[in-house]
Subunit: 203 residues, 2 copies
């Protein structure tokens, strides 16, 4: 039992150290030596758990994709508050936002397989939106893939560029983070208004 | 004259090679050796023109920022078509979109100075939007910085993730690029409708 616990915690330390390393340096820039040192283990142990740096990144990215979906739970009948939750999550975890962005840039060339976790998540969410359109909760005029991508895009608007608020300080009416969140929610509300559903938790 | 022309064209070849290199590998991943080789010159010549890899990147990023502003010309009285133009530009030049995204990720830690070209552009555009609000062309209820960031964000929605259309192929009603552009324009039109102005070219 002691051995298993110790192995588990080594693995957890590797994942924590790698998350910080990837977030800061990206995938190409990440160094397994630094991850091993930070996790108080050896390069060899890291490769015993994860066969390559890329596999380690993919493991963390998939975990993170699940964490954000779990934390923000898309409800197609209330996309404004969903966008607010995504905004909150990303602003609270800028390191995780960076982590995902590196992957998008660095793996853009490699053609992902249809069972790539990002694609699986996207197809699942489009299906949720399509059903909400059928049920009359969402304007059926939009192609659901556009709803998904544009809502996410609006939800992410402020995550990576809050520095602009300070840079334009004297031109900003309300520099608070609450004002940014309110704008994100109001924009999505104007596009895809929340509706009362028989079961508001249906999604 | 011949010397000057030759120097100019060496510099141009360096910039062209560096643009491709940065777009593909990012700043940390870019190699001056590869840039020099591709530009048919030497590492030393590259450093004679640009004092460092970062300075070379900053030069190209600033040039690109001007090019996209020039090509897309924000008109605060017609933000939907402005968003359409940004979409067109980025979809036509995915390499330039990548180039700018690397910078956002890799220089996120370094605190930019107030005269950073991105900040100067942002302040100029906020001022355009504020004036349009005063003139009655744009809903004055929004903080102009939110208008700017959210419109840009919507305009960029499809630039980096057209792969999702293929990944969700059987769930997409119209997979054409024209359908994506139409969604971007329609979304911005719903938020910030275009208005007829006395001088439609005023911005």
């Amino acid at each position: 039992m002691a051995t298993s616990t110790s192995a588990d915690s080594t693995r957890e330390r590797i994942v924590a150290a790698a998350t910080a390393e990837f977030s800061r340096y990206g995938i190409a820039g990440a160094r397994i030596e630094r991850i091993a040192k930070e996790a108080r283990t050896s390069k060899e142990r890291v490769y015993a758990y994860f066969r390559s740096k890329e596999a380690l990144y993919q493991f963390i990215a998939e975990q993170e994709l699940n964490a954000v979906s779990e934390a923000t739970r898309m409800n197609p009948a209330d996309l404004p508050e969903y966008a607010g939750r995504v905004h909150d999550y990303l602003v609270a975890h800028p390191d995780r936002f960076r982590l995902m962005n590196w992957g998008r840039l660095e793996f853009a060339d490699s053609s992902a397989s249809p069972d790539d976790p990002v694609y699986v998540t996207v197809r699942h969410k489009i299906e949720q939106l399509r059903k909400a359109q059928d049920a009359g909760y969402l304007d059926p005029a939009w192609d659901p893939i556009d709803i998904l991508v544009i809502v996410n895009q609006i939800a992410m608007a402020w995550a990576g560029q809050l520095d602009l608020v300070e840079a334009a300080a004297d031109q900003v009416r309300d520099p608070s983070l609450a004002a940014r969140r309110a704008a994100v929610v109001a924009v999505v509300q104007r596009l895809f208004p929340a509706v009362a559903t028989p079961d508001a938790r249906q999604a």
